[in-house]
Subunit: 357 residues, 2 copies
């Protein structure tokens, strides 16, 4: 049994803290506001299949392994997954060509994927509009309500001690705050886009990637939301619509590399609504319940950074768009590393040791 | 000295309560959430000149009298008015023709108004874009920060007793709640769009007119907001941009007659942003800080309803788009009516006594 300090309480930090405590360690989770940040803003797609692309086989394999781990992880949490799958939609002929590439790639990797006409997609989801020209049905993708997931993780962390303070640096055996410090056998950096300020080895590695989402809700007289996750390309721009059990619909997809900026811009909101209306015309009459922005933790190769930064200091960050998806397998990996198991090369921080500024 | 119960704590109710208490009455203000509702959502224009139109001389005269009363009212409150005036902008030739009609009407009534080219308007307000073709400068209009005004009114009401309950009906000498009642010599209904449910004489008179606003804030690298209130016609659709001292910009103009509905719709937000961008292209990069909707109290002739509904029951409602503007003179009128002075015919509820359903 070790004392472990987990620095950062998003979905990665909470998952690591929960599993480390379940493995018998004494765990403290350090975050001035746990269960917020990018995890709170997320869409909730667990969608490695429809996120994949030729040349990104490593990311697909990582994601597919995480997808297989999710049902047992959710069971242990007492948490419901959405299993309706994903529809990927195209509006113009270039979008259709993109869908063909994705379908061929997934089929060649043995994944279930069905090509549909726009008409067949509308038969499945009557809220879709006439501009939808082509679609793929990918039943294997899952989805979660990110906020319900965070609540379940907080409940599962009953053996974890929460420290509501802002860490300013991590060192071997120590987490530093303004004016004092906290000791631990192992420190795990799970602070997402804010990780790079905590340890010098992450400075050139993790960067913030802003994403904006809207939360909408069907109103009296509007068509109900889709039952599946809908991902669309609208003149090559991606947009997603993720339904929630409570009748909400989360709309997202903007990506901006603009530093540590979590303000929602008027143009971001305008574009999200306009693009979503191309595939689901009735969405204009939905109530706009919330706008929010979060910072994903980008990495140079879009693969997360999981491993030792130096003895006593672990990182589990850089999950970019896949923090929710990769949370269960990341937690498993962190538990294994703390137990002394070897570090998988694909996600090791050592791959950036030279040449990355 | 009378005991007066004021039912409804928006800008009209708070102004009436303050002035009634100053006149020596014992005043109770009844509202479960004072200083909210439509007054909280308002843009803050005190703009009877640029709101006027041939045929609506009565409304212009009421508004102009209120505008003259505002400086002393603000002084007594210790409250700052914005005196930069209003620019009215047109984008297409029909908008320009509309501006010409307004300019002729104001000039004929002896009001100061200057016709400007789009170029001259941009010289005054550099944030305006090249699609602005014509403009009127109307220096006489004022503006207020509606939320600062509500805070000042709450402070001024230190001699008023606040009753944080939901009234369900008013009767002579009595305000009724679910299960109990409160006695008063005079009851004043100032509940805006909710007034019609409180007394049968208001049932066919006051109706809710929904308005949506956005609050935006300039960000690093964006052009600063205009210094004047900007009202624009974009392909005949009105939009207004009202600057605040703290760098915020309030954007509004939607009007929907959809009952008691205060949800903001996605299409309403999309249209407000798109229309505002036609006159101020940089607004897309502003932060979207808040979206909100409120219910104005419409009346059949767009003139407020101020007077006796029956002995002991006064109304001061139906102010539609002009609740902030008309608050000082409405409060003066209510104080005069409680003192026994005769009821001005133009705003009397008796004008609807026959023929209005």
């Amino acid at each position: 049994m070790e004392s472990v300090a987990v620095v950062g309480g998003g979905v990665i930090g909470l998952s690591c803290a929960w599993r480390l405590a379940a493995a018998g360690h004494r765990v403290r989770l350090i975050d001035p506001a746990p269960a917020r940040g990018a995890s709170w803003v997320a869409g909730g797609m667990l969608a490695p299949l429809t996120e994949s692309w030729p040349g990104e086989e490593a990311a697909l394999d990582l994601g597919a392994a995480a997808l297989e781990r999710w049902p047992s992880f959710a069971d242990e949490l007492g948490f419901e997954l959405r299993r309706e799958g994903t529809l990927v939609l195209g509006v113009d002929s270039a979008d259709t060509a993109t869908l063909d590439v994705l379908a061929d790639f997934l089929a060649a990797r043995g994944r279930e994927v069905d090509r549909l006409t726009g008409r067949a997609a509308r038969a499945l989801e009557p809220c879709l509009g006439p501009r939808v020209r082509s679609a793929l049905s990918v039943p294997g993708d899952l989805a979660v309500d990110n906020r319900a997931l965070l609540a379940a993780l907080l409940r599962a962390c009953d053996a974890v001690e929460f420290v509501a303070e802002q860490a300013v640096a991590v060192r071997p055996g120590r987490v530093e705050f303004a004016g004092h410090a906290l000791d631990a056998d192992v420190v795990v950096v799970t602070a997402g886009a804010h990780s790079r300020g905590l340890h010098p080895a992450l400075t050139g590695v993790v960067r913030p990637v802003k994403g904006e989402i809207l939360r909408l809700r069907a109103r009296a007289g509007t068509l109900p939301p889709p039952s599946r996750t809908v991902r669309a390309l609208v003149a090559s721009r991606p947009v997603y619509l993720v339904p929630r059990a409570d009748g909400e619909l989360v709309l997202g997809a903007t990506q901006h590399e603009v530093g540590y900026d979590t303000e929602v811009t008027a143009a971001g909101v305008r574009d999200l609504i306009a693009d979503a209306e191309q595939v689901m015309p009735g969405i204009g009459e939905y109530a706009l319940v919330e706008t929010a922005a979060g910072l994903r933790a980008g990495s140079p190769d879009n693969v997360p950074v999981i491993g030792w930064l130096e003895p006593g200091v672990l990182a589990a960050t850089g999950h970019h768009r896949n923090g929710l998806l990769l949370a269960p397998t990341t937690a498993d990996a962190v538990v294994a590393l703390v137990a002394g198991e070897p570090e998988p090369a694909a996600t090791s921080p050592s791959r950036f040791a030279k040449g990355v500024r």
